[in-house]
């Protein structure tokens, strides 16, 4: 299952969206949940079981248009080199940075 870990492979979006049963999350991050699902089955040998949700208990995923801002991740935009790397996207920049 680790064959694709190296380079980012090109996704077939149409196939993933329209003719697969993966959840939207799985479509985006790749189907990495197959293993953990297997593990859950082995644990279940008691007669009574606590009903678990498929996702770990966390805040409910809200129907929201804005993704939460991750301050740590955005920290990288303090770097001058990175800032210069997107200069070409502005009219004042040149095509080849």
């Amino acid at each position: 299952a680790r064959t694709s870990s190296g380079r980012p492979r090109r996704k077939n979006w149409m196939k993933l969206i329209y003719s697969s049963t993966l959840t939207p999350e799985q479509v985006l991050i790749g189907d990495a949940n197959a293993e953990s699902a297997q593990k859950n089955i082995e644990d279940e040998d008691d007669f009574f079981q606590i009903k678990r949700k498929s996702e770990p208990e966390a805040d409910e995923t809200l129907d929201r248009a804005k993704n939460p801002l991750r301050a740590e991740e955005l920290q990288k935009w303090g770097d001058d080199q990175l800032l210069d790397s997107i200069r070409n996207l502005f009219i004042t920049g040149h095509d080849h940075p």
Partner: protein, 364 residues
């Protein structure tokens, strides 16, 4: 026959766009297992409020909610619009409601003049500033423009709200086919900083820290400090910076950051600015926040091939694409965009519009 065309869904997620698609397509929708495993099962107050609002803007809509609140059936009526107002609960900002309404309003019988009251800016939904400066221009891409206006009458920060905004939306017969594949280059940056019930200096401090980063890129930067005083400033203190970058072809990328306890205004300004740069670096003609709106209008477009260049779909968008196929039978062709590199993977979305005609429109 009546039962056979009811579309069935499960779960609380994606509720909003499913209701919108149901009303636009005229197909009844049944949604069950709404938080049925939750400690606090059933619909939330803001979802109930959304249903009430949808009932208000339409005529003949039948909504049945089960006793436990975990299932609902919506039989859509016609969108009538007109002059209406609605008080939104404080659990979500009014952006949550406007985002859904904006998808319906152009296909109404009468032009919308809808006033919503509640929280005007929060972390989850588009703020009134982004709705006005970013969402409305996206409607204009589809020929919805004359008389389109968004007025921010009062601001209201969380938790107590007290804000008020009004959407004026004209009625169209049909939406235009979109052909938006050239992202262009960023030519100007605009921003709105506001601070209510705190020192007005906070706006300037956000603007200053934002400028310290942006000044290197282009000279055409205008960050506006929007002042609301007294009764117009809501019931709670708060501040935010909403910022957008417009390209030579009219592509708009936007970001915003809202005040958090214990974080200085300078840091909020930086956060918004960096989020904007991250958006710009992703490229494309439409940002993630507006994928749903643009894709929906493309589906409804006249019977021609609409095309748009955007980044990869978000999880919401993926489900939206699947649901759109259920309601309208339209699927998109999604292929890597020409010249897109590995760092900013962009896709070309194209579809054949269903030629949706606004049958509600009153012929005057």
């Amino acid at each position: 026959m009546a039962q056979s065309n009811v579309l069935q869904f499960s779960g609380h997620q994606h509720l909003r766009h499913r209701l919108v698609l149901s009303i636009l397509s005229g197909k009844p929708v049944k949604i069950d297992k709404i938080r049925s495993d939750d400690k606090n099962p059933g619909l939330r107050d803001y979802e109930i409020s959304l249903l009430r609002l949808l009932e208000k803007v339409t005529n003949g809509t039948v909504i049945e909610i089960s006793v436990t609140g975990t299932a609902l059936l919506l039989k859509p009526g016609v969108i009538v619009g007109g002059t209406l107002s609605h008080d939104c609960p404080l659990s979500r900002s009014i952006g949550y409601f406007f985002e859904a309404i904006i998808m319906l309003a152009p296909f109404s019988k009468r032009p919308f003049q809808l006033t919503l009251r509640g929280i005007t800016t929060d972390d989850h939904d588009l703020s009134v500033d982004l709705l006005r400066t970013v969402t409305l221009p996206h409607l204009q891409l589809f020929g919805i423009s004359d008389g389109l206006e968004f007025r921010i009458k009062k601001r209201g920060a969380a938790p107590a709200g007290g804000g008020e905004a009004q959407l004026l939306c004209p009625v169209v017969k049909q939406v235009k086919t979109l052909n938006f594949v050239d992202p262009g280059k960023i030519k100007r940056i605009r921003g709105i900083a506001h601070a209510v019930r705190v020192s007005p200096q906070f706006s300037n401090r956000m603007i200053e820290s934002s400028r310290s980063v942006l000044n290197r890129f282009i000279p055409d930067i205008y960050l506006y400090s929007d002042v609301y005083k007294g009764d117009e400033s809501g019931k709670s203190p708060g501040y935010a910076l909403s910022i957008l970058a417009e390209s030579t072809t009219g592509a708009i990328h936007s970001a915003e950051a809202v005040s958090q306890p214990g974080v200085a205004p300078e840091d909020i300004g930086l956060l918004a600015t960096r989020a904007l740069l991250a958006e710009i670096s992703k490229g494309g003609c439409v940002d993630e926040k507006h994928q749903l709106l643009v894709l929906l209008m493309m589906v409804l477009g006249s019977e021609d091939v609409g095309r748009c260049r955007m980044g990869p779909p978000t999880t919401r968008t993926i489900q939206f694409l699947r649901d759109t196929k259920e309601f309208f039978g339209t699927s998109f062709k999604i292929v890597p965009a020409e010249g897109a590199d590995e760092t900013a993977p962009q896709l070309l979305y194209s579809c054949y519009g269903v030629g949706y005609v606004n049958a509600n429109r009153s012929l005057a």
